[in-house]
């Protein structure tokens, strides 16, 4: 775990509401694995107070890539920061994905959940695996990471809510017939993950969860999620958990 004042190298909108942020963060980039996250300070004064967790979406040498969606006050403030400025980063944090031997990676992403999976896909490729990425978004314009995946020769299939690209409907509709011999790596809204568990009961898999975080390091016990073994901390025990282990409400 490092605390680093990382210089912004690149920061731009890559799709409506989605931004890509590239940072010079040698200490953190050197140690980050897919599924891990950084905890990032968006302001300087007493408000907004807390850091924001963002998954590592890629790295190249000393550069760390983040990919985020502007959803509220903190991410809106982050969006105003310009190249050359520095951001206060804590990371890499949490436990990331681990490859399951003998099974090819099937990556299932919903919206901004694609961020950690882009990093995972690249690492899988580098390790000689054959990942396939399924991505569900609201509309065609929100497909991000496509060029990156294409450059690595990683296939991508898209579903959209409005049918403007790929199949109309949830990304889980793309699963049929694709589960054989695969291990699932997922990140997206709770509804997506719940459906995934229903559709792929026997398939081994891992999921990256989200929860509101204060400390990000396991100290405050704030980011509890329900698992078969009781409450666990998303920041320290996760964010990546076994798909089988995660318990949803209702």
């Amino acid at each position: 775990m490092e605390l680093e004042q990382a210089e912004i190298l690149e920061h731009r909108e890559v799709a409506p509401g989605y931004r890509r942020l590239v940072l010079a963060a040698p200490a953190i980039a050197g140690r980050a694995g897919p599924g891990q996250f950084v905890h990032l300070r968006v302001g300087e004064g007493p408000h907004p107070l807390l850091r924001r967790p963002l998954s590592v979406a890629g790295r190249r040498g000393e550069a760390l890539t983040l990919l985020y969606r502007v959803v509220g006050e903190g991410t809106a403030l982050l969006a105003t920061r310009r190249p050359g400025e520095r951001l206060d980063l804590l990371g890499p944090l949490g436990r990331g994905f681990t490859f399951i031997d003998g099974r090819e990676p099937l990556l299932v992403a919903g919206g901004a959940g694609v961020a950690p999976l882009l990093f995972l896909a690249a690492e899988a490729r580098a390790a000689g695996r054959k990942p396939l990425v399924l991505l569900g978004v609201a509309t065609a314009a929100e497909v991000v990471g496509e060029d990156e995946l294409a450059a690595l020769g990683i296939p991508l299939e898209v579903s959209t809510d409005d049918g403007s690209r790929g199949r109309r409907g949830p990304v889980t509709d793309l699963l049929a017939g694709r589960l054989e011999g695969k291990a699932i790596y997922a990140c997206g809204p709770a509804a997506m993950v719940r459906r995934l568990k229903e559709l792929a009961p026997g398939v081994p898999g891992q999921v990256s969860l989200e929860a509101a975080m204060a400390c990000g390091v396991g100290a405050c016990r704030g980011c509890a999620c329900r698992t078969a073994g009781g409450y666990r901390m998303v920041c320290a025990d996760g964010p990546v958990f076994d798909l089988g282990e995660v318990v949803f409400d209702e």
């Binding site: 107070l49 807390l50 509101a212 204060a214």
Partner: protein, 302 residues
């Protein structure tokens, strides 16, 4: 560093900057960034006789210049503390104050008795002010007589310095503190969190799984400072906390009457905040020509 050395309720501290209970875990989580030995003391997460699971999520939500938490005192229990955390903290050379919680007086007493024999513990902080549990916590701290009874019972079974952590959610803090003093406490911690809540407009339901939570962070600093100011008249040494984020915040608490201060929520935003506060106070004292930090204590009372 002797400029900063203080004694708080019989506990010798190399500096007056402590890690607040529940925000620094057992020291281990932040160890890479904040060596626990460089703090005045580490106050542990609230510790109960048996492990407690805590409240249903969500447990935290951000608010204007603050946050709400409804952790519900999740903790791995006394045995874990004694077997894992205290040895580790001792190995680090940290001064340790254990924050104690229970559902009944007997549970508080039982924890205190075990820790009384423990060399790695410099003092106890009785949490009678957690707003996030049904039994225990604020149930004892809301009235002078229940607070008295609890402190008295624990006092009989331990010679360790005893701090009692008070809630700001009361009409007459001073009255409670006086009874706590009469029960034999060595010092007061002020304050714990304020009761608050947030509502999720989409779901039209409370955000927190436990409905209400405790408000902490810069937002509550003025309330905490006023509490310390008023408690100064009680005559017990005070550990001041609530919203402290900078050395100048810390100095305000000292001037209001706190002998030492603790930093909670600020650590989440700036993990090294406590170390920066130590440096800041050191620099302030040097530049004002003040030989020891205790000279500031209570000075704003004129």
């Amino acid at each position: 560093m002797s400029r900063l050395a203080v004694e708080l309720a019989g506990i010798r501290l190399q500096n007056p900057v402590l890690a607040a209970s529940g925000t620094f875990g057992y020291g281990r989580e932040y160890a890479g960034l904040v060596p626990p030995a460089r703090l005045g003391a580490v106050i542990t997460k609230g510790t109960s006789l048996e492990p407690w699971p805590g409240n249903p999520p969500p447990r935290t939500v951000e608010t204007a210049a603050g946050m709400l938490n409804s952790i519900g005192l999740e903790n791995p229990g006394l045995n874990h503390l004694v077997e894992e955390d205290l040895p580790w903290l001792a190995g680090q050379g940290a001064t340790v104050i254990v924050n104690v919680v229970g559902r009944t007086i007997e549970e508080y007493v039982a924890v205190a008795e075990v820790l009384d024999r423990h060399r790695g513990v410099s003092g106890l902080e009785l949490n009678i002010s957690c707003p996030n549990v049904d039994k225990g916590g604020l149930a004892f701290g809301a009235a002078p007589e229940t607070a008295y009874a609890l402190v008295r019972a624990v006092r009989k079974r331990t010679r360790l310095p005893l701090l009692v952590k008070l809630s700001p959610n009361v009409t007459d803090l001073v009255r409670i503190a006086q009874r706590v003093r009469e029960a034999g406490a060595d010092g007061l911690s002020a304050v714990n969190t304020l009761v608050g809540m947030a509502i999720d407009l989409e779901r039209r339901r409370p955000v927190l799984g436990n409905v209400t939570g405790g408000l902490s962070g810069p937002a509550i600093k003025p309330v905490a400072l006023a509490a310390v100011w008023r408690l100064y008249q009680v005559g017990l040494p005070i550990l001041g906390l609530g919203g402290i984020a900078t050395w100048s915040d810390a100095a305000e608490f000292l001037l209001a009457g706190a002998t030492a201060i603790a930093v909670g929520t600020a650590t989440f935003a700036r993990p090294r905040a406590m170390l920066e506060i130590v440096e800041g106070l050191e620099g302030y004292l040097a530049c004002q020509g003040i030989a020891n930090v205790s000279e500031l204590v209570g000075r704003a009372h004129g």
